[in-house]
């Protein structure tokens, strides 16, 4: 590892000032579980940082809170351990808890942050599909003020986001879940822990009121959000599959049909973690399973 300068500002404004004054060649540091590894291994997607700005002391990035009216705020600096253990996340957003609770190991989760996961912008980032499915928005602050971007538009390519030089992700806002909503996230990995998604699938469904026609399982898909990880240059929504389901009865046949569409919609590549054909196959299988699980949760 080569020498670099280290800053530890104590407020968001101070951090932005450091980045503005020092200019190009700086890098924000959250948990460091991506950045430090990349610096050590010499596999950076950007030039080796001349200086590093720690975000760990910024109160604005910390923690999370929830209100029925506005939903969930996840600080960019919230660690996955915090998210996974949060009772409100587990109860109201199990889909997010599931994404958070599988990142690396206990040690990784104690360090790794939501913001780091999103800003590192790996196609396999585990918190991305759940947050995409929840239609979260990203609040960004920088030298020219604040802006809000739907998460769907946040990712540009592998390792690339809409963040401009000097900008920081401050928090992620997740709308409150409507009634009769259920969601789930799973990924396929060769190992049971300490691994990176070969395919990740998040499904969030809102069902309409049960029909009076006596359908025990009742209800149609009112809203469906499907997000896929590791099958495109960025985490993506599977919009064709979503569209196929909305308005239809929540039946196994409809779900199977949507899974087939998601299978075709995915644009995976072949790499050392799996061939494109394998990934595509998994998208089909997992979309079907996840939709069923989401429906079961929505009915609960």
């Amino acid at each position: 590892m080569r020498p670099f300068e280290y800053f530890a500002p104590t407020s968001l404004q101070e951090a932005i000032d450091v980045l503005r004054q020092r200019g190009d060649g700086g890098r924000p540091l959250a948990g460091g579980t991506d950045l430090v590894v990349q610096m050590k291994e010499g596999v950076l997607r950007f030039p080796y940082p001349e200086y590093v700005v720690s975000l760990r002391r910024l109160p604005e990035l910390k923690g999370m809170d929830f209100s029925e009216a506005t939903g969930l705020r996840l600080g960019a600096g919230a660690t996955f351990a915090e998210v996974a253990e949060s009772p409100v996340v587990r109860e109201r957003y199990p889909i997010i808890a599931e994404g958070a609770s599988i990142v690396g190991s206990v040690q990784t989760m104690n360090m790794a942050t939501v913001g780091g996961n999103l800003c590192n912008a790996a196609p396999s980032a585990d918190i991305a599909p759940p947050l995409l499915a929840c239609e979260a928005t990203a609040r960004i602050a920088g030298p020219s003020g604040q802006r809000t971007v739907p998460l769907d538009e946040f990712f540009v390519g592998p390792g690339e986001t809409v963040l401009r030089p000097g900008e920081l992700l401050v928090e992620v806002l997740v709308p409150p879940p409507p009634p009769r909503t259920g969601g789930a996230y799973r990924r396929h990995t060769p190992r049971k822990q300490m691994d990176i998604a070969v395919v990740g699938v998040a499904a969030l469904v809102t069902l309409g009121p049960s029909t009076s026609s006596g359908q025990a399982d009742g209800g149609a898909f009112q809203r469906v959000r499907l997000a896929l990880g590791a099958v495109a240059p960025t985490p993506v929504r599977a919009r064709n599959a979503e569209a196929r389901l909305e308005g239809r009865p929540a039946s196994d046949e409809a779900i199977a049909g949507a899974a087939a569409i998601a299978h075709d919609e995915a644009k995976p590549i072949s790499d050392v973690r799996g061939s494109a054909a394998f990934r595509r196959h998994l998208v089909g299988v997992m979309t079907e399973r996840l939709l069923k699980e989401a429906v079961a949760r929505a009915r609960r």
Partner: protein, 773 residues
Amino acid sequence: MAKETITRQEYRVVGKAVTRIDAAGKVTGKTVYADDMHLPRLLHAKLVMAPYAHARIKSIDSAKARRLPGVEAVVTAADLPPHRKNPSNRREVLLAEDEVLFYGQPVAAVLASDPHVAEEARDLVRVEYEELPPVVDPVAAMAEDSPLARSPVSEVDRTEEKGHIATGVEQREEQGKPSNIASEMSFKRGDLEEGFAGADAVVEGTWWSGMVHQSYIEPHVTIADYDATGELSIWTSTQAPFYIRDEVSEILEIPETKVRVTATEVGGGFGGKIFLYETLVAALAMVVRRPVKLTMSRKEDILAATPAPQAVVELKTGMKADGTLTALQARLIYDSGAFPGAPMLPGCLIIGGYYKCANLGIQGYEVLTNKVSVGALRAPGAHNATFAIESAVDMMARKLGLDPLEVRLKNAVEKGDPLPSGQPYPAIGLKECLQAISETAVWNERRDSRKHPNRPDGHPPARGVGLAVGGWLGGLQPASATVGLNGDGTINVIVGAADITGTNTSFAQIAAEELNVPMSMVNVTTGDTKTAPYAGMSAGSKTTFTVGRAVKLAADEARRQILEIAGHRLETAPDDLEMKDGVVRIKGSTDKTLTFGRIGHMSTGFAARYAPVVGTGTITARRQAPGFTVQIAEVEVDPDTGEVTLLRYAIAQDAGFAINPLSVEGQMQGGASQGLGIALSEEMVYDDKGRLLNPNFLDYRLPTTRDLPPIEAIIVEVPSEDGPYGARIVGEPSIVAGAAVIANAVADAAGVRVYDAPITPERVLRAMGKIKE
């Protein structure tokens, strides 16, 4: 088993489960490893590694690197001191000189007082290459018209293999027309045609097992210092201090008496810590006349150490309806990488070494490619061959409607049966291991396994049970040890063998047993090559088997000396004396006693009356004590994702006599875990240009604790003729069976046969025909 129980009771310390004497240091982080060591004026080395699998070096420009403050030297092949250079021996090609033969091959070394500066300077060294066609696939490399991976090889060094296995046969180095085949060999017995004609079922297949890494926690670390008097000192994480001394001495032309090799605590070896960059680091120290340390990063270690080979095994076997194996025909191709030394010969012995078979023909090839050259990994070469034969035996049993365990029992080798080389087996316990597995719950509940209810989430996984045999012959090398009595009556044991598996604990048990003292009175030290009595490398599972015998002899000799002094002192014949807990007394008497402390004092103090008590034990070992294992798994296969989940696992292994059952179980479980990594997830993946795609522990996947179920270890004890108390080899056999066990269990569960290991979800799905492209 009754016999063993009786034998057991005669012993006081051996045969009892004891905590390893090095455990506290390791679990508290106090143990000093090579990388923890520092010397005054130490320089850190970083290696410039080739970014091509096959290339010619056109020029090396190190000017910019040299200018970086803190850099002391940039060393290329041209700057090294004169040394022996056999281009066929990787250990003598210290830095690539003209031709680069594998991706990651060291081309230059940068030396700086700060390791980070060395790393930065490494990236400033500019090397100009001319790319040459890489040879990557070993089967394609055997074709007449294949490009050559390298210039032809000669005078091949097979020491590493011989450290692990004594075979009694030599393989033929390829002569004549240049080709990528470095060596080949064949074994024949009986008449194959007749054997197949007499078979009721014939099974044919090609099994492939990938390249895997030993994956020790501690990457390679070496420190060398060459002082003004021409003495070379090396501290290195190695299993083979004397071997390194001998080799370094020869290559650098320094007499062995001037080379001190200290084997530092080994943070995992598994065959991968025999000998690697010690000569290079020594040569660098000679160039700069300062101590030099080389600490490999994980990435460098995976790229450029000595992993285990991929192999392609074509196998055809025949069986009679009654389960008699009638014919076995095999062709084994081991990918050696850029230098010869692949464990093809052991593979050839193993594939025909588990079962009696009247007709066999085995052909082995060792093929050169442009990849990092391979070395030993726990029973080198055996798992590749076992994957094939143990899958085939299951397939034949299935075809004939026979019980896979019964079929194995029927054909299993016993004492006196010949190996493919003709050499007869000494006492072995393969049948006893099969019997032990037949008594496990996993085996006896196998029929219920398939009837289990679906998982709560409604997916229909399939369950099944599979088993396989594994075995290893073991190495042979002479050994020696000393056992001395200290002035205070405690005991010092000194050996020359690196302790990689708890052997020093077993030596303490042996000395304590022979001297009838508690283990707490015994201390065991591994000396360096200038002070320790000679021992072979800690490889080939032979350390307890050979050095343990030497320790036992040395302790017996120390005991004799103690009794002689006591007899003289107590005016009795030594035969009338007995010793217990450090007290010698006349048999049956309580007043006529003498403590070890007293005897120690009388043999070490000023003007002492008696000579010091120092027992020496020296042995040579000429007959092996092969170790067999049988392993069984219950798995669940998800037919839609191809995932294989291990539910239960058991291993039975013949230890001859378990001197420390706790260590033996640890070896069995550890080796089985490694075998399961090979079976399910571990694979070094190269692209078609010979570049390694996964030199890290993220994409090179070792199983984690959550991937493995508890492993039930059943120790079987069929005493060996030669080992101490009947102990036989233990360390290696447990790794051998995994891939075959899993393949057989998957076949049982899902009805498909996977011929490629690791058996990944993608390969399972392909076998099921669920992915076609």
